[in-house]
């Protein structure tokens, strides 16, 4: 447990922007990243979020210089770094496996980047910087130990310390928390957020955990199959998903998607009848609604009804799962509500605008008049 983090009086006006311009990465016949265009403003915490294999780690590696783009350019600040070696890019990286040097002590691990010949740091300066970073991360009593002798959480912090000690312009973090247990992960999340505020640096984060992304980020780029599905603030992505992929990916428990068809301004699906947005009759649509936007009602009084399958008591509220036709709909209800398993119950959206509509042919969201 680290002591309260001391304030660093470094002015971080050196934070830089990161830009991808038409970046493509191919491995032989496989395209890992496609027509990637992204601008990250200085000092922002941006997450690349997506399932395994979506290209997020490859993208991060390209900023680091560990992979070369097949086409396109990458800029850090106003410098074209596309073909520049990692050492010259003034970036720091925290790896999923921490990649600590096993034969060096923790002190030497953190000092390692400062001792690179190209940096020509004075030894006294090195010692001071390492000690400052160690103090900030609560590692000062462990400096003489080896990585194999300390816990996973502490190793994580050593990796962070090694990144911080050079005060780089951009931090790259590749799923740094995924090797920690749940409790530690949640704790480290808030510490990372804190660190970002204090350092004021540009941070690029990669994860498949949507909760993590939403807690930490200023902006999220949701990725799938090598392309960006949507880029924006967490709130925007959550409330206004641009397509089915983003809608399904964000939120825990996720958004319920019901597939059906519009018939004369009415959306119909098994056990579901709801007003449809204005589209041509016969269009196949998907209706998306989040569990917190549904309230129980009388079976005949709401747009959908079904049999309650399970009830999970969560303390402040309960989560019910209801079989509406072939779809298992999730909804939050008050923990005191009188609902029984096997009972037929109706559900209705709390407000009409809390429903999101998607065209089933294109998977894209329909444009909306008001915020969802």
């Amino acid at each position: 447990m680290p002591a309260s983090i001391l304030t660093r009086d470094e002015s971080q006006s050196s934070a830089r922007s990161v830009r991808f311009m038409d970046v493509v990465k191919r491995f032989g016949a496989v395209t890992a990243v496609e027509r990637f265009n992204l601008t990250i403003e200085p000092g922002q915490f941006v997450t690349l979020l997506g399932p395994s294999g979506c290209g997020k780690s490859t993208t991060l590696n390209m900023i680091a210089g560990l992979e070369l783009p097949t086409e396109g350019r990458i800029l850090i600040g106003d410098r074209d770094v596309t073909a520049i070696s990692p050492a010259d890019r003034d970036i720091a990286m925290v790896f999923q496996s921490y990649a600590l040097y096993p034969h060096l002590t923790i002190f030497e691990n953190i000092a390692f980047p400062l001792r690179a010949r190209r940096r020509r740091t004075e030894e006294a300066d090195v010692v001071k910087k390492v000690k400052d970073a160690a103090l900030m991360l609560g590692l000062d009593s462990l400096l003489h130990r080896f990585p194999r002798e300390v816990s996973g959480g502490q190793r994580q912090r050593v990796a962070l310390g090694r990144a911080m000690v050079r005060q780089p312009t951009v931090y790259l973090l590749d799923e740094p928390l995924s090797n920690l247990d749940q409790q530690l992960r949640v704790q480290m999340r808030s510490e990372l957020k804190d660190l970002h505020l204090r350092l004021g640096a540009t941070m690029l984060y990669v994860t498949h955990d949507q909760g993590e992304a939403m807690t930490l980020s200023d902006s999220i780029a949701v990725m799938s199959g090598g392309r960006i599905e949507q880029f924006g603030a967490p709130k925007d992505l959550y409330r206004n998903p641009a397509n089915l992929f983003v809608a399904r990916f964000l939120g825990e428990p996720g958004m319920t998607i019901i597939e059906g068809q519009v018939d004369n301004r009415t959306f119909r699906a098994p056990d579901v009848v709801h007003d449809a947005p204005s589209v041509i009759s016969g269009t196949r649509l998907a209706m998306g609604v989040r569990p917190e936007d549904l309230t129980p009602c009388q079976p005949d009084n709401g747009p959908m009804s079904g049999i309650v399958r399970t009830i999970e008591f969560l303390g402040s509220r309960s989560l019910i799962r209801v079989d509406v036709g072939p779809v298992l709909v999730t909804a939050f209800i008050a923990s005191e509500a009188e609902v029984r398993i096997g009972e037929r119950i109706g559900l209705k959206p709390t407000t009409p605008t809390s429903v999101c509509w998607f065209d089933l042919e294109t998977s894209q969201a329909l444009p909306r008049v008001a915020v969802c």
């Binding site: 922007s17 070369l68 783009p69 086409e71 350019r73 106003d78 074209d80 596309t82 073909a83």
Partner: protein, 309 residues
Amino acid sequence: MAAISSGSTSQTDLTIKGTQAGLQRVGTLLVGPAILLVIAVNVLPAFVGFYSSLRRIFFFTDEGFVGLDNFVAIFSEASTYATIARSFVFTFGSLALAVPLALLVALAVRQLGRRGRLFLTMLLVPWAMSPIVVALLWKWILLPSPGGLLASTFIALGWSPVALLTDPSAAMPTIIVVGVWRNFAFAAIILTAGLGQIPNDLYKAAAVDGHSVWERFRRITLPLLAPSLLIVLCVLTISYFNEVQVIIGLTTGGPINATTTLAYQLYQTGFVELDQGRGNAIAVVMFLINLLLVIAYVRLLGGSKGDGK
């Protein structure tokens, strides 16, 4: 907005692609010396060997092309077949002794834990010695007159000393024993590693099912050890087939050619008598037999990896 300060897109693309090809160049450069040396010292002599076997060469003087005369000469002598037979006796006799011993040692090492490793280390000391030095040592021990350890012991016990190395029927078994003494522990390393791969739970399950120790050995240990056993058999077969230093040191092929294997014959013909054309012909024959043995074992190994699991 910041201005983009670099060359044209095409220039950057060239640099990117150039670096990719450059990586392959560097890689080839790093592996190059090793490849070149290995090819030079293995492939080149192979060609020269084949070439020379078709010529008449004495004392380093090339006397011309003779076609397959060398081979004909070798195979028309009755002694050649005896020599080849002796090679196989030596090779498979050594295997028959070395492999069970190595297996026993491997099993013991597994049982003994930490002491087992110490035991294995001790057994490996002969392997760390030079084969010719080992031969010299045993020549002294087996000396059939007072002084030789074996002989002196026999005399002290009232028996007459045994002349193992000069007895035509005892010489071959003796060199087999010395050869095995030297390197059976090496096979034990590989078998110990192989045994370590077998999960302990299998034995427990079999014990619960009521199998006896012998049955457990036959049904679990042997089949799962098969890949390691095959590696050991392959390595040892090649090693014993080509063994020459022990024979040079102990018996120089005698008594009366009782220990002249094909490997020794090559030494005698090519290096002592300096009949290099014929010596190379023998080398070609040995090379072919080596190749056949390797292929046979690779087939067997591939087969055992294919089925099961």
